[in-house]
């Protein structure tokens, strides 16, 4: 197999999946669980405001049209990239003269956040339903958690015990 395939070989053309236009239902589903008490971003709108505004189909259609055009043109408008950074002090620190005693948070335009959420949901659905991602990838995926990682690890250890083997674990954090 090594003789036939080399790491520097170009990957051949793969079948591309169609990207259908966004639906109103997708947007409404994505907005349901958004926190009403989130801080105000640079576009002065709260999730609670957007929930009321998007009950009106006409308003939602306009935002969907903009989102569809972003995908079609492959362009993310510069206004969506604007953000407000707030530096918050971490509680109960002995001294506040180190930058690590603070945590900056970035407040984004929530219309942009909503479009990103809908795109994220679609990507999650496509990569899991088409099995594009390795089954041992547990981070950043819906319905997967640390418990799954723990269960997988204990399963490996138990399997080793049956075969009279010990298991060593090497854990590392990639930042």
């Amino acid at each position: 197999l090594l003789g036939q395939c080399h790491i520097l070989d170009e990957i051949g053309d793969k079948l591309t999946l169609p990207w259908p236009a966004f639906l109103k239902g997708e947007f409404r589903l994505a907005i349901i669980n958004c926190n009403n008490s989130s801080a105000l971003g640079p576009n002065k709108l709260l999730w609670s405001h957007l929930k009321i505004i998007f009950k009106d189909d006409d308003c939602l259609n306009i935002i969907i049209n903009i989102a569809n055009m972003c995908i079609e043109l492959g362009y993310w408008p510069s206004h969506f990239k604007r953000s407000t950074t707030i530096v918050i002090s971490k509680p109960n620190k002995k001294s506040y003269n180190l930058p690590k005693a603070f945590r900056p948070i970035v407040l984004l335009n929530i219309v942009c956040k909503l479009i990103k959420k809908v795109i994220g949901e679609r990507l999650q659905f496509n990569i899991t339903s088409n099995k594009f991602i390795h089954p041992s990838q547990l981070g950043g995926l819906k319905f997967k958690s640390t418990i799954d990682a723990g269960v997988a690890l204990t399963h490996i250890i138990h399997t080793g015990w049956i075969k009279n083997l010990s298991t060593s674990t090497l854990a590392f954090d990639i930042a």
Partner: protein, 373 residues
């Protein structure tokens, strides 16, 4: 600032209370308490309304228990204030003399110098050598001794022996218009043996942003804002949305129309540290009622209403945290001593950050370091 005396120097268990008294409206600038035997003798309080001037404790210049050097910004320049306690052995003055640090823009040096001298105390007949050392330091800092507008002692002896003295001094910038104009308040020494001293130092006008724009939740303005934003979104023309420039134009138009609706409906709100989540319209009415009548009975009714409302609000909050969020340990912070952090400039790569640009670079490189690894 209202001066208050604490009811006891010990807590209920009989353990002595040590540390810096903290007040919600005042920032405390003090060194950390090392041990009970090494208690603090100098501290600086700064009103939170001046917090935008960025007051920083500068331990890197004078690292001494009895010296507090605090810097602040005014119109892009750094200014300093120096608070000193010099004990009967004059150890702080000796330290300052040996350190030979030159600080420009030092506005005020003040404190208890424990030196009696006929230069500032006409009732004392002698001149001490240590006063010459003090004047050398004062010259080095480009300061001048300020004489009070009212000549009264600053330290009052417990015994009515008449041995009151002037040992608390103020030195101001050389040639400053505030010189020889400070006041001594012998009526404000409470349980201490020192009178309070006050001086007004004028700094350049600075825009201190005390207000922000906001729309109150569940208000008429909020309903109007949502209605107007809906209308603004509907009026956006998306028919010719065929290229990048048109997309940019539409998104910018959306942003500017939301912004103009916000500006019309939001109002100035004063920023305070006082949480008033329990406040409602009823209290506004009750408070206005008191302001017009000025009757004690109305005031008492208002206060009792506020008290019960606060109690109900916090009881509900406690129940919510303990039961619904299942985190009773989070409430432990409520009963602990609330310690305000001392103000010190943020240090990065061994350098203190005094400018907004430096601070931005520090945060940028700290939190984006992983990106470049």
């Amino acid at each position: 600032m209202t001066l208050r005396t604490i009811s006891s120097s010990e807590n209920l268990e009989g353990i002595p209370l040590l540390g810096v008294p903290s007040y919600p409206n005042w920032l405390t600038s003090a060194r950390e308490l090392c041990s009970p035997n090494n208690s603090l003798r100098v501290l600086v309080y700064i009103n939170i309304r001046l917090s935008s001037l960025c007051f920083f404790l500068q331990k890197d210049i004078f690292n001494h228990r009895d010296i507090l050097l605090v810097s602040f910004f005014n119109n892009n320049s750094v200014f300093w204030i120096l608070n000193i306690y010099s004990d009967s052995l004059y150890s702080t003055l000796k330290y300052l003399k040996n350190t030979e640090m030159n600080i420009s823009n030092l506005l005020i040096m003040t404190g208890d110098f424990n030196i009696r001298d006929n230069i500032w105390d006409p009732s004392f007949p002698h001149h001490l050598v240590i006063s010459d050392d003090l004047m050398t330091i004062v010259d080095l800092f480009n300061l001048e001794l300020s004489f009070p507008a009212n000549y009264v002692p600053t330290r009052y002896s417990d015994l009515n022996s008449g041995s009151n003295s002037v040992i608390y001094l103020i030195f101001l910038q050389s040639g400053s218009t505030e010189l020889n104009n400070h006041q001594i308040h012998p009526d404000l020494y409470l349980s201490s043996d020192h009178a309070s001293l006050s001086v007004m130092i004028v700094i350049e006008d600075e825009n201190i942003n005390e207000v922000k724009y906001s729309i109150a939740k569940n208000s008429e303005e909020e309903a109007n804002f949502i209605k107007k934003v809906s209308i603004a979104i509907k009026t956006i023309d998306i028919l010719n949305l065929l290229n990048i420039s048109k997309l940019e134009e539409v998104v910018n138009l959306l942003a500017s129309s939301i912004n103009s609706v916000w500006n019309k409906n939001s109002k100035n709100v004063k920023i305070t540290k006082h949480s008033k989540s329990w406040w409602n319209e009823e209290y506004n009415y009750a408070l206005n009622n008191y302001r017009t009548t000025r009757s004690l009975e109305v005031w008492k009714t208002f206060k009792s209403k506020v008290k019960s409302s606060k109690r109900n609000f916090f009881d509900t909050k406690i129940q919510e945290i303990a039961n619904e969020r299942c985190g009773p340990w989070e409430l432990m912070n409520w009963v602990n001593k609330h310690k305000l952090p001392t103000i010190e400039a943020i240090k990065y790569n061994g350098q203190q950050c005094f400018k907004l640009g430096d601070l931005w670079n520090t945060f940028h490189s700290t939190f984006n370091m992983t990106l470049h690894c």
